[in-house]
Symmetry: C2
Subunit: 569 residues, 2 copies
């Protein structure tokens, strides 16, 4: 394609709304323009990148035996009522009415539609397993759209749904998707890590998130520095090892702590370390209330607590609810609780001796607290967030933290949807059974952005081969020089014929402007046609390494083929 | 792909909601399923067809030098207010609010978005002309969705927008799109006709509709049986030739016509032909009222009238408005009119002598009416619909009617949007000028349906080569016969390797079921592997002609290549 006629509005200045490097570069390199908060237009270069992601995704999904379909973005509310999500989904769900005042949603996901489709069109074990996918525009009314297309309100996703006759079948479908995702993100040039995530009621290795590692990631990943264990923070297991216990030195004693509420205030007041206090948090778990205890230097993990208490919804108790229970915020502890409140504690709490905990009285704490002696716990369990330096649950190595952008998610749904929507099949004995489902998502636009986030330098983007909007940038230094112009056009034609995607900078701009733009756009190979054009010599340069060398026209195609091979390796 | 694992739910019975053959076949052949009125899911086969249309469109748009982008479906109301379409667009426009209560539309079209994009990112004649296109899901809340994906509420369109520095530039952009569209619909296997359509204020040859000819088409096309002239009904020109005038035989005379209101009632009452009456219709043209006159046997063409009176909006006067004007419905004529009402008449009216017209009094008409003598006309012009048998305005041949499905539309917008939205460029002298725009749409899903509507027989669909979801259907008669099974799989692999899209019917179904499904699905070439499998002989049959012949395996690839060549010719 010729640059002179291409809509490729590069910018020197950094767009005001962009906080992160990928967003800045995607706007500056003329890939994206914002229409309104969280809603973007893809310009020609950006759309070529998006189509690259789609191509990679499509090839790997097809290779894994999935079948491509296309479901509607507008979905009738009735379907969402069948699963209860019409009520349960918050303001992120975009809703609208048609001219007959019927309710619709703009789909953020398609479990309801695909389950109804399969329920209505497939009823025999003979047609199972099946995996249906689509690459489609999705809608989510983010409270705070940010980071360009990483967190936007209209975005492109690949979503897939597998239907199996059994748990074992689901495991196989899941593994197949796990493999496909690994290939997809590798081909997309991402430095990524599949991490275990919380599977809720499913349990086990029921879900993985694929994380592109990045400082700006909104998710924390706990990973082992020795083995390949990785999990997100809510899932990462903590290994409990009993600590040395000393005998108690004293009796339980109530002490006044006027207005001393937080761990920090307690540390100042008593001049103890954080580990000398018991932190108590009250939650509403479905219809009942529970208290979770962790050591003062730890964070309670509410997902772990939710799983232990087997709740559908677990939320921090509100101030009103605390007041109703007679629990004074800042002074809550495992003492004198109403009978109906269950106490759960992190495993390490059982080793705490002579520590300090809230007395459930305003401005009062207890000291010399000994769990088991002074209060009862319904169960000790892994209830805290892992911290850096913790032991790896797999190999005994050490846990470190990284941050990541979630680009994919594979999830075992089990029969959650097929049960609610009656998606059944006849098994080999003619008996009705519920289909066993999995769902698998990839953020297509987000993958493009994550790729830029990981592949850039101070001058611009550095595209991996398969993601590049064009493979080769042919840049004549001075198009008014007939020799240069002619040679550049020759090279352009030859490379196009050879099957490369080529961009020819045929603009009558100064060389400096052209080079700056070329670096900003970041195509893998740049061929500069300059002063030696008369001798048939051009410079062939790699964007990533900056390495360049003079090549004679006669050897150019072979040289480019070699570079292309190396860049794809 | 193997049919046993493909989601391809064929149906024997005809779906109740389907009125037309393409809708019936697309549901029966497992291409489509309705989610809710006017909203469809494309199953694997249907999506393959849709992607074929997209591929053809993309190749021809790229060939014509257009650049692919992707604009959002959700668009802020502010943009639509800039052009006044927020108010002007009726209930077909789907509207929604985000969580901040801001108004959005679900785009039925993208003039506003693309004009703002170009306005903000391009300001020099050096970057013009430019043509931006996208293939995207569009929304239109049809009052009566019907005919499957021919008139649906969510559908796929290709829309393109050209920006030029001058009218001449626009003409060239337009011609280029006209050519691309002709190639696209030819490749899509359509029997189509580009027809002139009304260009409104632009005038001239400013717009063409591309019509797939079909009995079920909702639009009437007037075409010449001798030359290639074709226009839609609202546009088709009528050639005026003065008729022989006889002298008037009598004086104007008012006659009572109690309750005689319609042309039909008048014909019965007076025992005259329809051509002996003047039909008068009252319209509100923007803020004023006009009357249009045509001969009783003709239909007034309100688009032509609108253009003659140069109105933005022209609508039939309501009963209330007629009452206010003192005009009695059924007895309206060009007599005793309020001064502010202008009278326009079809050219042929000037040749009417001693005819009958309404007296603008209840239950009264005039007879022996002579235009010019008895009433004044502001202008005579072409104001009627063409009728079959009329003279062709190009060659003098005869006009005939056909019906068509609008699959594409090319339109010269001129400066309508660039003016309202301030889309300007600096010309070669550094002077600001308005960009001159064109817009070009193709109904992608509709093209697929139109193709089925034109290509079928009593047994099912007959896919043209480029549109077919697969090229070849390999059907072993009995998969329990090891020889047949093995040979079919060999053929499948060989054809896939040779680059064909192949469907293998590896189901353990009866031969009759498989053949019925094969005809219904309608792939161009069917290879049946049956009793002669042991000798390496199979039957190779064309879906369209039904011609088949036995072919030995050794010659199969060459034979298929020959058939493929013929089918693509």
């Amino acid at each position: 394609m010729k640059q002179s006629t291409l809509l490729l509005p590069t910018l020197r200045e950094v767009p005001a709304e962009a906080e992160i490097i990928s967003h800045k570069l995607m706007v500056r390199a003329g890939l994206l323009r914002q229409l309104v908060s969280g809603v973007y237009t893809y310009l020609p270069l950006g759309y070529r990148v998006l189509r690259n992601v789609q191509r990679i995704v499509r090839e790997e999904m097809d290779r894994a035996g999935a079948q491509e379909i296309s479901m509607p973005a507008i979905q009738p509310a009735e379907l969402w009522k069948e699963t209860g999500r019409w009520e349960a989904y918050g303001p992120e769900l975009m809703r609208l009415k048609d001219r007959h005042d019927r309710d619709f949603v703009l789909g953020p996901t398609h479990e309801e539609v695909v389950t109804s489709l399969v329920r209505d069109n497939l009823n025999s074990y003979k047609k199972l397993p099946i995996n249906l996918y689509q690459i489609q525009t999705k809608y989510r009314d983010e409270v705070r759209p940010r980071f360009g297309v990483i967190r936007s309100r209209e975005f492109v996703m690949k979503d897939a749904y597998s239907f199996d006759t059994s748990r074992e079948g689901l495991d196989a479908s899941y593994d197949s998707m796990y493999g496909a995702y690994s290939r997809i993100f590798t081909r997309a040039g991402l430095n990524f890590r599949p991490v275990e995530a919380d599977a809720g009621a499913i349990g086990g290795k029921g879900t993985h998130e694929f994380m592109a590692l990045s400082e700006i990631g909104e998710d924390t990943i706990a990973y082992c520095t020795s083995c390949d264990y990785a999990a997100n923070l809510e899932k990462a297991e903590v290994v409990y090892k009993q600590e040395d216990r000393v005998a108690s030195a004293g009796e339980l004693e109530k002490v006044p702590t006027p207005d001393v509420k937080t761990i920090e205030q307690l540390m100042n007041h008593f001049n103890f370390e954080a580990r000398s206090f018991i932190k108590a948090l009250v939650f509403k778990a479905d219809d009942r209330f529970v208290i979770g205890l962790v050591r003062g230097d730890h964070e309670l993990n509410d997902v772990k607590l939710k799983n232990i208490v087997d709740a559908n919804v677990l939320e921090m108790a509100s101030e009103a609810e605390l007041a109703q229970l007679g629990l004074p915020l800042g002074f809550i502890g495992p003492f004198n609780l109403p009978d109906e409140i269950e106490v759960y504690a992190d495993s390490l709490v059982q080793d705490m001796i002579d520590v300090i905990a809230g007395a459930n009285e305003v401005d009062m704490h207890y000291r010399n607290v000994v769990p088991g002696r002074d209060f009862n716990v319904k169960a000790y369990a892994d209830l805290r967030n892992v911290v850096e330096g913790d032991e790896c649950p797999r190999c005994g190595g050490h846990i470190a933290f990284a941050r990541g952008i979630e680009v994919g998610h594979v999830f075992k749904l089990g029969t959650r949807y097929s049960e609610k929507m009656g998606a059944k099949f006849l098994d080999v004995n003619g008996k009705e059974q519920l289909m066993v489902m999995g769902c698998y998502g990839i953020g297509v636009s987000r993958t493009a952005a994550a790729c830029v986030e990981q592949n850039n330098d101070e001058n611009g983007i550095i595209w991996p081969w398969e993601m590049a909007p064009f493979h080769v940038h042919v840049v004549p230094v001075n198009v008014k020089n007939e020799e240069q112009k002619q040679l550049a056009e020759d090279i352009y034609s030859k490379l196009c014929e050879a099957g490369y995607d080529v961009l020819l900078d045929d603009r009558a701009e100064r060389a400096g402007v052209k080079f700056k733009d070329a670096d900003l756009i970041g195509l893998p190979i740049r061929i500069t046609v300059g002063a030696k054009a008369g001798e048939g010599i051009v410079e062939c340069k790699l964007r990533r390494s900056g390495e360049g060398q003079d090549i004679h026209m006669d050897e150019l195609l072979a040289h480019v083929a070699q570079l292309a091979g190396e860049l794809q390796a």
